[in-house]
Symmetry: C2
Subunit: 281 residues, 2 copies
Amino acid sequence: METLSQWRCHGGTQGVYRHHSTSTGTPMTFAVFVPPQHEAGFVPVLWFLSGLTCTHANVMEKGGYQALAAELGLMIVCPDTSPRGEGVADDPAYDLGQGAGFYVDATQAPWSPHFRMRSYVERELPALIAAKFPADVRQQGITGHSMGGHGALTLALRNPKRFRSVSAFAPIVAPAAVPWGEKAFTAYLGHDTSHWALHDACALIHAGARVPDILVDQGGADSFLESQLQPHRLADACAAAGIPLTLRLHPGYDHSYYFIQTFMPDHLHWHAERLMASPAG
Amino acid sequence: METLSQWRCHGGTQGVYRHHSTSTGTPMTFAVFVPPQHEAGFVPVLWFLSGLTCTHANVMEKGGYQALAAELGLMIVCPDTSPRGEGVADDPAYDLGQGAGFYVDATQAPWSPHFRMRSYVERELPALIAAKFPADVRQQGITGHSMGGHGALTLALRNPKRFRSVSAFAPIVAPAAVPWGEKAFTAYLGHDTSHWALHDACALIHAGARVPDILVDQGGADSFLESQLQPHRLADACAAAGIPLTLRLHPGYDHSYYFIQTFMPDHLHWHAERLMASPAG
């Protein structure tokens, strides 16, 4: 693992790191904020998965998490959204290929050699974080934005023992039922939709996956609300499953990082309350 | 004036606007954050002048001012750092030409036709802000970073009645005495250094300019500290003049926006306390 940058920030350290990923077969870059509390011991970890077109840098620069994460004592880990580079398949569209990994392991050509973001964010990077950073891996939460909200929900639903808290900003809650997801899942996973269900939050809940509760914030002026995000599908699924969902619709807010930074404090508090509660035993 | 973007943010509006500047003879882009308190009346204004290579966007995206500005009720105005475009003179170096206006009116070729950033930030843009935004122009403060810290200090010292508060992040306090300023002032203002004094904070103070007090934050690991910034010069000038200077050196912090975002809340409080105090009468 190579350190690309480190900045002192709010008494902690915002860093950017690169390593060779055996999952993707490429160099992968990620950002980690280590709060000042690490000097007294390992600290809880909050994962932030980003949306289409983003790298690790967008939320690191525009998400506005550092001040409160430093106060609460949260480590924040921000992976990239796909493998990248000249030898990696790509598509001219913004919603497929590099910058659009959708947190799945592709089984279809030309994507399968490198587009293994599920393995990367679910196994490989967590092991690296545990080995290289002062992370209390018993206290992990996960959040994300848009495609990364999809990633956060599905990772939490598949790994409820690992993630003690989950939230999302404007997530794709049912990718198998909306154009972004249909396009990406067809390309990465093939036409047999039975392979899609492990990567669709609503389908996972219908199939019995459970988390203790979920926080979702959604902008009312988000141009993707009706076509791609459709949070009512998550509300229906959670209601049927008895999962407490706090779903907040904020008039006037769009899909941007200005929306994210506005509600970031609420999400950090949500996770801190759950990660810093006494262990169930 | 044209609206390029507007985002809802922390209950206020972060916008980006463009207009044709008669000072620079070019289109100029700037950012304004309007806090929610504008609905109850005009609000105090804090100007943020940016540093070398920056546009209006760097501090808007990375400065982290929106949350607290929304809470305190401060409008934040962020101009660009120079005229730009194909017909505008430039230099391959990062510290001269486009992105490096130094807040002066150039008198020398090839800069003099467009590089008139003093007129732009001191007169033209304030008039536009007063006309188009809910700004209480009796309550204005100014801050900035690096080259923009130089701009903030010199504008405040030349206009003590307009700016009721002034602060800076890692400012160039004595441009006439350091390489960045010597190079830029020679290019823009010519070799006769008597024309430089109006644009050098320390020289202005030595010549009798006064402000009520100054806050300066400086990173101790800033790679430009010794060569270009030299805050001890400002400390000496303020001591000799009896200007109360709060100069804080922060070990480990560098010249980046992670340094700026860390101390931004202290600066917003500094300005809010002074702008929202009762008028002297």
